[in-house]
């Protein structure tokens, strides 16, 4: 591009983002807590595959379009192996988490597929559908307790977090009595502020806890996932603990944040809330739309190129890191016209909120059942639900790998 062309373009579209890499994670704009960070949204519009700089000064590619994100995540030439030099991390703690005792989420096929297939039956659509009465019972029990003799509560602490926590403990065969311990470990592991040492300690404690649990299931099996992994006889306690840790952390942080953030979003979009209340059968599609609109895995899924690959007209060289930005992909106008707005009647099934490719979230049938039941029950049982603090005072999880709110004080 000549200087004149560049000036003309800059006048047209603002500064050429191709010249200065985007620093990630990028901050969201004040007052727009549901929208992607402005720099990343701009990159998506102007230079959809662009360079980014990370905390340690290293750089990687940022892939922001729906089609390109699907191509990278669906292409086995992009590796998920975090031990490869050049793999992009968001923080030093994140590097520790991804490389110390990695679970199959950070491995490639065939080892990834071998391990993942030990669990696919446990999260099948039909099995999760059969869990509905149990999940409903848990949701009702939590709301009974939350509302008994009271008019206000923190929805995160009393409903959004305990619901998936109770369910994943039940599925795994982990005693819920220890929930404070593993909830604390989970948040250390996913906080962008945790030091390497804090991550290492949380990881070790959780690993020890789950190894001991696996050992106890060897002696006294139940019908939970940990016992079934033990019974297969293919994995030692440490390997079972790594898998258990992945399921426990993923089971806690994702659905809990989707539930609370979805509730807040609906309260901020009263027309959409009214529509969903008037037509409860919209809930299945509304959950997909909320997954799309909120995209709580908000900092980009990391991969590294195994060989030179051309994506969206750009050649990504072997050894270069890539972050696939899911939240801009999920607002890509080509796939979701008017995607910046929440529309509970939209067909949002093509969203990539669960990722894409062979690593796509294994627990999504469970997450869907939990979210559908949690939101439907909450809206039905608390018709007067409202925020109990000013919107500006809500503590958003800008500092966490999984987005959401730290607390959601509500009244009814």
């Amino acid at each position: 591009m000549t200087t004149t062309e560049r000036i003309a373009r800059e006048q047209d579209t603002g500064p050429d983002t191709g010249r200065s890499p985007v620093a990630v994670p990028a901050a969201r704009a004040a007052g727009c807590p549901f929208d992607p960070a402005p720099e990343i949204a701009r990159a998506h519009r102007e230079e959809p595959i662009t360079r980014a700089t990370l905390w340690d000064g290293s750089s990687c590619w940022l892939v922001t379009r729906h089609q390109d994100v699907r191509e990278v995540l669906g292409d086995p030439r992009f590796s998920a192996d975090a031990t490869r030099p050049g793999f992009p991390f968001l923080t030093a703690g994140g590097r520790q988490f991804a490389t110390g005792n990695p679970s199959f989420i950070r491995q490639d096929d065939p080892e990834h597929a071998r391990l993942r297939r030990m669990l696919t039956a446990d999260f099948m659509v039909k099995k999760m559908a059969a869990m509905r009465p149990e999940v409903q019972r848990i949701a009702d029990g939590l709301l009974d307790r939350m509302t008994e003799g009271r008019q206000a509560a923190d929805l995160v602490a009393e409903f959004a977090l305990p619901l998936p926590s109770l369910v994943i403990c039940l599925l795994l065969g982990v005693p819920y009595d220890d929930h404070e311990f593993f909830q604390k470990c989970s948040s250390v592991l996913l906080s962008l502020r945790s030091s390497v040492e804090q991550v290492r300690v949380a990881q070790e404690e959780l690993q020890d806890f789950l190894s001991r649990l696996a050992e106890s299931k060897r002696r006294a099996p139940d019908d939970g996932i940990v016992s079934r992994l033990v019974a297969r006889g293919e994995l030692d306690n440490a390997a079972i603990a790594s898998m258990g840790r992945l399921l426990l952390v993923a089971g806690h942080e994702t659905t809990a944040n989707m539930t609370a953030l979805s509730t807040l979003t609906l309260l901020r979009n009263p027309d959409q809330l009214a529509r969903l209340r008037a037509e409860p059968s919209l809930i299945t599609g509304a959950v997909e739309e909320l997954l799309r609109y909120l995209t709580i895995v908000h900092n980009g899924l990391p991969r590294i190129a195994d060989e030179d690959v051309t994506i969206g007209g750009r050649t990504i060289r072997a050894g270069e890191g890539v972050l696939c930005v899911l939240n801009t992909a999920n607002r890509d106008e080509e796939i979701f016209p008017g995607g910046a707005a929440l529309d509970v009647g939209r067909d949002a099934r093509r969203h990539v909120a669960f990722g894409f490719g062979v690593h796509q979230c294994l627990g999504q049938p469970l997450a869907r059942v939990e979210l559908q039941i949690a939101l439907e029950t909450l809206l039905r049982r608390l018709p007067g639900l409202r925020l109990d603090i000013p919107f500006e005072d809500i503590p958003f999880r800008h500092d966490m790998g999984i987005y959401g709110v730290h607390a959601l004080p509500v009244a009814w």
Binding site: L73, G74, A113, R116, R117, T120, A121, D122, F123, M124, V125, K126, R349, R350, F354, G355, F356, G357, V358, H359, Q360, C361, L362, Q364, P365, R368
Partner: protein, 71 residues
């Protein structure tokens, strides 16, 4: 329409079952996709196309047969 699946590619997260439960199911032992109807009726074609589009592992292939085109 003719549908084929590649069970080796399938990663078992079940999106296809949600889109078109009449055409796709999951194997009880390992959650891997099962094809219930390789030539689904026209009323299901949209759902099957959607299932193929959202399959994260590109394990579903849809071929347009002449008969389907006539419908």
């Amino acid at each position: 329409m003719r549908v084929t699946i590649d069970q080796d590619k399938c990663c078992g997260a079940g999106s296809c079952v949600l889109s078109a439960p009449e055409v796709f199911d999951q194997r009880e032992e390992d959650g891997i996709v099962l094809l219930l109807d390789a030539e689904p009726p026209a009323a299901l074609h949209d759902a099957v196309h959607e299932a193929a589009a959202i399959c994260p592992a590109a394990a579903i292939t849809v071929e347009q047969t002449e008969q389907a085109e006539r419908v």
